[in-house]
């Protein structure tokens, strides 16, 4: 059985990037997940990211090739797809704006620059809110759980002691009651120890998993933040230069500019 993902990779290996980009309709296993199988989801996630990476590389090559061949409209289409895949990438934003300018579509280039800035701001706001909420929930849940566990343990022991005291005061001292009370306390203590030991094991497992996911999320949020900040700066710069009539080619040399084509 031949999979389209394998066909896509073969096309990339052969250097047939147009064919590869046609084959890549959407992400690997898009919309498919097994919530109770974390390992499978992790495998699918890394496979998806690998394929997306190859697609981005193929699109970058296509943008370069088409621009070099003077096919600016085709380059614009591929650059647009790159921006859709990674809206916060300053490089892809610049590819799109450059291609649009070279194709003589100045108004779309201005729109792309403004859109990039708006998207970056929106995403940055959304991500920062989401990150703050995640951190808040993480700590709140942890402290709440500890508090409930402690309270429950203290409440059970206090209640038993209270019952024993009442028995002692109201009905005088009975050795049977005292012994049974102590036995109940001892049993409760042992049960609590067993339960908490089990909880600790489970918590350790879930904690290591949460730590991995949390680190991954935080890392990705941090990257998003950096990209958002970069694209916001570049988009502002790009917009100013578009308005001024020229745009930096983005290779780090501000003196090198692409002259605007008159539409």
């Amino acid at each position: 059985m031949t999979l389209d993902s394998h066909l896509f990779e073969s096309a990339c290996d052969r250097g047939e990037f147009e064919q590869a980009c046609r084959l890549y309709r959407t992400d690997f296993l898009a919309g498919f997940a097994l919530p109770d199988c974390a390992e499978f989801d992790d495998w699918a996630f890394f496979r998806r990211e690998a394929l997306r990476g190859r697609l981005m590389h193929a699109l970058e090559r296509l943008v370069q090739d088409k621009t070099a061949a003077g096919e600016y409209f085709a380059a614009t289409a591929h650059a647009g797809r790159l921006v859709e895949l990674d809206p916060l990438s300053e490089v892809y934003g610049r590819h799109l704006i450059r291609s649009l300018l070279l194709a003589g579509d100045r108004s779309s280039a201005e729109q792309a620059a403004a859109k990039g800035l708006a998207k970056a701001n929106k995403r940055l706001f959304k991500e920062s809110v989401s990150l703050s909420w995640k951190l808040y929930m993480k700590y709140r849940v942890r402290y709440l759980r500890t508090f409930i566990q402690r309270f429950a343990r203290e409440a059970v022991v206090s209640f038993l002691i209270f019952v024993l005291l009442v028995e002692f005061l109201l009905h005088q001292f009975h050795i049977e009651l005292f012994v049974s009370g102590v036995a109940v306390l001892a049993l409760a203590y042992i049960a609590e120890k067993i339960v908490s030991a089990r909880l600790r094991t489970r918590r350790r497992q879930s904690h290591s998993r949460a730590l991995f996911n949390g680190t991954r999320d935080l890392y990705s949020d941090y990257l998003v933040f950096l990209r958002a900040r970069a694209i916001a700066q570049v988009a502002t710069l790009g917009r100013d230069r578009v308005v001024a009539g020229s745009l930096s080619s983005g290779n780090g040399n501000p003196d090198e500019t692409i002259p605007m084509q008159k539409s």
Binding site: S5, A30, G31, F32, L34, C37, F40
Partner: protein, 94 residues
């Protein structure tokens, strides 16, 4: 013999939601884990240890239980597809 030789007359796009297409129409496989199993095996392009496959799909259950579940799953997939699609032995499946 490769899985491609066994599984004839089907296409199985994985870019997007995975679906099995027969010669005429799509085949509805109402088993999410069955689809996951097919995707994983097809991507592996070779034999995968039964234990690896079973642990991937049923991570919480005991070993004997998940091996039995895997056997049943393979059987149900072949029933749905109407032909033999897996090559199996005691320790691996492809």
């Amino acid at each position: 013999m490769s899985s491609g030789d066994l599984m004839t007359g089907f296409s199985f796009p994985t870019l997007g939601f995975p679906e099995i297409h027969g010669d005429i129409s799509p085949i509805k496989l109402n088993l999410r884990k069955g689809l996951a199993l097919l995707v994983y095996l097809a991507e592996a392009q070779g034999a995968v240890a039964r234990d690896v496959m079973a642990t991937l799909l049923w991570p919480e259950s005991p070993r004997e239980t998940i091996r039995a579940r895997l056997r049943r799953m393979l059987h149900r997939i072949e029933l749905t597809l109407g032909q033999q699609v897996f090559e199996t032995d005691r320790s691996s499946v492809r």
